[in-house]
Point group: C2
Chain length 122, copies 2
DNA sequence: ATCAACTTCTACATAGTGTAGAAAGGAGTT
DNA sequence: AACTCCTTTCTACACTATGTAGAAGTTGAT
């Protein structure tokens, strides 16, 4: 629904890549020397917390207030989020089938197969 | 690639809905009592021109400078644009097939059929 | 009661977008 | 050539989202 900025997106990536909930400090560290790209400048923890609050407000993140350093986790899976984004795009088009045709037309053969399989599975 | 604002998007919609190129004045009128929703407050032509310039800079719009009132047209079809957006979303995901699965999972039966047809057509 | 860690508040810079007036350009008319 | 009208470009400002973080407030532990 809402669009994510670059940092917000990075934070979400960290959360999506993690199996368990993380603290703001964890996330800051992951962002710094994280596996992802970007030199990863050291951010202040408050910066990360601000972003997390905003993400919480946007319902992208869930916060466990009981834990002392609050624990954060993504409220939706990345796949679900991405799929929703795609549906949003599609929903904004009057000519949905045309869009789908274009879309599928540019999909790799490998992915086309994946699509067939998925569709076969009803 | 670049994100479009609300007005930019409306202008693109006008252009996409038109078969031939339009002048800024045409577009302003279409926006006002256009077929689309929104009360359509009368905008200044300069406003429309500003937006058109920005859209041109973003390569969403082509301008014919020869015609006296310049003529504008969408440089890409709506379907192509939407499909590209979807690919952008998909491209940002590491687990593309998972996203596709989710996406297809939420597609209407009618559209699922459309997809099968499209995929069958190779 | 105090301290240290943590969270929330407040704040500011930047960029993108909506919006349009002021200034400038060009083509026809006198 | 000068004038005028229509059109375009320039300049400008407000508002929002986002990145960024210090200051202030809160709370558990000692």
């Amino acid at each position: 629904m809402a669009t994510l900025g670059e940092l917000e997106r990075s934070v979400m990536d960290v959360l999506w890549d993690s199996t368990d909930a993380l603290t703001a400090g964890d996330i800051r560290d992951d962002l710094a020397h994280g596996n992802a790209e970007g030199v990863g400048k050291e951010l202040a923890v408050t910066t990360v917390l601000t972003v997390l609050s905003r993400l919480e407000a946007k319902n992208f993140v869930t916060r466990e207030r009981d834990s002392r350093p609050h624990l954060f986790s993504a409220s939706t899976s990345r796949a679900a989020h991405m799929a929703e984004l795609m549906h949003e795009v599609l929903g904004a088009a009057p000519d949905r089938e045309a869009v789908l045709a274009r879309f599928v037309g540019q999909v790799s053969p490998r992915e086309a197969d994946a699509l067939r399989r998925i569709l076969a599975g009803k």
